[in-house]
């Protein structure tokens, strides 16, 4: 349990997250309009989305399927009967004057997500529910000095609202939860989970309490749009609440906004100002009734999800739990890893994992790109590993070759050939160099013979320097020992 030490003692932070994830579907939840990101304003809008008089919603089957698949991926109960309700409020970017959502009877009930925490421990976070709802449009305040423009492209787009139980206790746990949830959504192909595009947004419910005490009053911080901001918002809001309580104040149940520029949360509206949404079943839509056999078909067709894949990586490839966890965190990484390992005979999975988590991740980070855009694809990395395995190049040289591959996009064999980096394993050639180096450095040779083992490393360095790093390090070591003994 991670506690925060305040002025008057320790506090426990209690966090629940509500994630809105845009569903990958051909069209909106209740209309046939397309949902392309970044389209010109008001080009992805049907008569239904614009709430023209007399227009009626018709449920998109694909959206339902995606919600059910997500529920199955979260090991959650699928509710065979669910009900769409209207959540009524006025806002210029909400054309109907209500959002069609699910309230008392969501499509997905309780489930859970298993988190691998940075300290190596495992934690289960409960899922309270998942429901389907419409997104709102967007108000554009910067198009005109005293008018607000409305873009309805997003109006009616399918969202899944995924509500966790208040099971998290720190920003790190919240971040791990979001990372894992996003991975599951991406494995399932039900949401891109791109927070920067607004395809995934997060509301934070947070309260603090003395360890073991009853739950405190919570605040809800709305629409935080990156995992880093979620951590920042949690850290700020927890400290703020603790400071208020330690100064003898009380926490107001209120809605707050996170200001990423300043890293603070600010009150948006209090409980008294809260909307009365007047939910009631949408009379334009019949209750949604699912066939249990259809749900089972979807269950059978689910792809392998991160937890299962991790277990398989450990069992099949002999990876450590940590390495397997890192590799499966993103579907692309896990796919890349498997493509490397399976791309050639006898490839060493552990070596592949080390290269991906070391060199490849470092290069991606340095260049700020995704794996999909990496100049060294799985086939090329596999080629490089093969050259190490068959002794053509040493591990040290391989790093230079990798850098050259990254910069040029060429394959490993070509780089090795062009630069003449082939490892020298010819004992005769190496022995000649060893003999020369030992002869040229009698003082150091004497030190080694006197028992200073460290000097051997210096000699290896000299031989490697003389061979531009291409001598087989094992052979060099052995020949040096023979020569110096």
């Amino acid at each position: 349990m991670s506690l925060i030490r305040g002025r008057t003692g320790e506090w426990e932070v209690v966090i629940g997250l509500e994630v809105h994830a845009q569903v990958i579907a051909d069209s909106k939840l209740f209309s046939g309009a397309a949902t392309a990101f970044g389209a010109e304003p008001n080009t992805q809008v049907s008569l239904v989305d614009a709430a023209m008089p007399g227009m009626l919603p018709v449920l998109n089957a694909r959206s339902v399927e995606q919600a059910v698949r997500t529920g199955l991926g979260l090991n959650a109960r699928i509710n065979l009967t669910s009900v769409f309700e209207r959540k009524n409020y006025f806002y210029p970017d909400l054309p109907q004057g209500y959002q069609i959502s699910q309230y008392l009877q969501p499509i997905v009930g309780e489930g859970e997500i298993t988190l691998d925490l940075p300290d190596g421990s495992v934690k289960t976070v409960g899922i309270e529910r998942l429901h389907l709802e419409q997104d709102a449009g967007k108000s554009l305040h910067d198009q005109h000095p005293n008018c607000t423009y409305i873009d309805l492209n997003r109006s009616g787009v399918t969202l899944m609202e995924i509500v966790s139980k208040p099971d998290m206790r720190s920003g790190d746990e919240a971040a791990a939860y979001l990372t894992k949830l996003r991975a599951i959504l991406r494995y399932l192909g039900t949401s891109t989970g791109n927070m920067e595009e607004g395809s995934m947004r997060c509301d934070i419910n947070l309260s603090v309490r003395r360890p073991g005490a009853a739950l405190g009053t919570r605040t809800e911080t709305k629409n935080v749009n990156s995992i880093r901001f979620v951590k920042q918002a949690i850290e700020y809001e927890a400290k703020r609440q603790i400071a208020v309580l330690e100064d003898g104040g009380t926490i107001e149940q209120e809605t707050r906004l996170f200001d990423p520029g300043k890293g603070v949360t600010r009150a948006m509206r209090t409980k008294e100002e809260a909307h009365d949404y007047r939910y009631f079943p949408d009379p334009d839509l019949l209750p949604l009734v699912l066939d249990s056999e259809w749900v089972e078909e979807l269950r059978r067709a689910l792809p392998e999800l991160p937890d299962a894949r991790k277990a398989r990586f450990i069992a099949d490839y002999g990876l450590s739990a940590y390495d397997a966890g890192v590799l499966v965190a993103e579907r692309e990484t896990a796919d890349y890893f498997e493509a490397v390992v399976r791309g050639g005979a006898g490839r060493d999975a552990k070596r592949a994992a080390n290269w991906i988590m070391g060199e490849v991740f470092a290069a991606l980070n340095r260049d700020g790109i995704d794996l999909a855009a990496a100049p060294v694809d799985a086939a090329r990395l596999g080629g490089l590993l093969d050259l190490i395995a068959d002794g053509t190049i040493s591990g040290r040289i391989a790093k230079d070759v990798f850098d050259a591959m990254w910069d040029s996009g060429k394959d490993a064999a070509t780089i090795v050939e062009e630069k003449g980096l082939k490892q020298i394993s010819d004992e005769g050639a190496i022995a000649a160099i060893v003999a020369r180096v030992v002869a040229d450095n009698p003082t150091q040779a004497e030190q080694f013979r006197a028992g200073n083992e460290k000097v051997l490393g210096w000699f290896v360095g000299q031989v490697m320097k003389a061979t531009r790093g291409q001598a087989n390090p094992g052979v060099v070591n052995r020949l040096l020992r023979e020569k110096l003994s």
């Binding site: 006025f90 007047r278 839509l285």
Partner: protein
Amino acid sequence: MTRLNELTIAAARDGLAKGEFSARELAEAHIAAMESARRLNLFITETPERALAMADAADARRRRGEAGLLDGIPLAVKDLFCTEDVLTTAGSHILDGFHPPYESTVTANLWRAGAVLLGKTNLDEFAMGSSNMTSHYGPVESPWRRKGDNRPLVPGGSSGGSAAAVAARVTAGAIGTDTGGSIRQPAAFCGIVGMKPTYGRCSRWGIVAFASSLDQAGPLTRTVRDAAIMLRAMAGHDPRDSTSVDRPVPDYEAALSGDIRGLRVGIPKEYRVDGMPDEIEALWRRGVQWLEEAGATTIEVSLPHTKYALPTYYIIAPAEASSNLARYDGVRYGLRVPGRTPTEMYEATRGEGFGAEVKRRVLIGTYVLSAGYYDAYYNKARKVRALILRDFTEAFESVDVLLTPTAPSTAFAQGEKMDDPIAMYLNDVFTVPANLSGLPGISVPAAMAEDGLPLGLQVIGRAFDEETMLRVAHVIETAAGFDAEPAFVAGR
């Protein structure tokens, strides 16, 4: 020969088929009738050019041998149906200048059957009313007059323009919508036939919504046969309306066999209200007698929750309306009254755009859905609604149709009941149960009251059994032999 504008749909259909007159001649006669009736304020928008163009197209189709079910028949359309490029107002200021870029499914079905649009008829604002007094475009005047009294009367509502136009022989048929009686009550007041089909029988797509779980389109005509002809063209499954039902549409006209021998007719004993005139009771008894004489059995049945139907309706309908009308915010179409902030703009637009009755219902609806009141009102109303439906389901185990009066009074004068919304709402006391339970109902003109105004009888059928309901209505129509005409008949 009868003037063309006084023909029934069936007669016009036959005349067109025999080549006795062209669709254009028929349209011209109706346009002239429409113009001659302007003082009744029946139409918000007249569409004579469109009517003539559609009539010419109908004549061309007939020459090619491609005539549809309603080919060349002029119809009036309640201005709650969206009609492509034709002003659609819902009788409200807030839809000023709204020309829909789309056509409602029901009207599209009618045009596909060859029908001709005469114009868009006046109505209570957003179909909220039983008098046609709440229209932004002014009240509709009934073509009827009380005996010895020249005060203008209401046609009933909300489909008052459609009902009065049919009664005044401006058109043989019109379409309306019925949320709590808005077709059947004005039909009874105007001495015509008005029918609300089963919920889900006609698509609601493109109809300005009042209360979505209750709204249903239906025909207003002068004969049961015409109602049957029109319903066949209007009905059908529409994938764009999730509450529309995928069942085949029968030939309703073929159901009018006149033979109701052995049919069991239920007489619900609860269909009485305080102060209901004896002559309505008497007419009801006469209806029983007509059906028995035709070979049906009548059975008294009990629908014990009937007395809760009106309060239930006046919770559910405003609740849905308060949400349905939220979209009229001045942002995208219709009236916009500017304000410094979006909230100010909403308030100004809705304050000016909605009339008093609409505001009253939006307020009631908002209230009954509010936190703290939801369970006491809306949720309880939903439960009572289920009980009302159960009453009907149980009754229909022993009977095939139900016979009731349509309304507890004859038409009243313009201005009457305006200061007493409860008395106004009482107009719907016999019609709302069919809406709450989704069942089909039809009002047939059956007699003249002592005040010289028509009275209607209502037949309520099983869900999707419009055929039996129409057959019984047709027998009543025949037995009643209602042939009274209103004081005003267009073109005379």
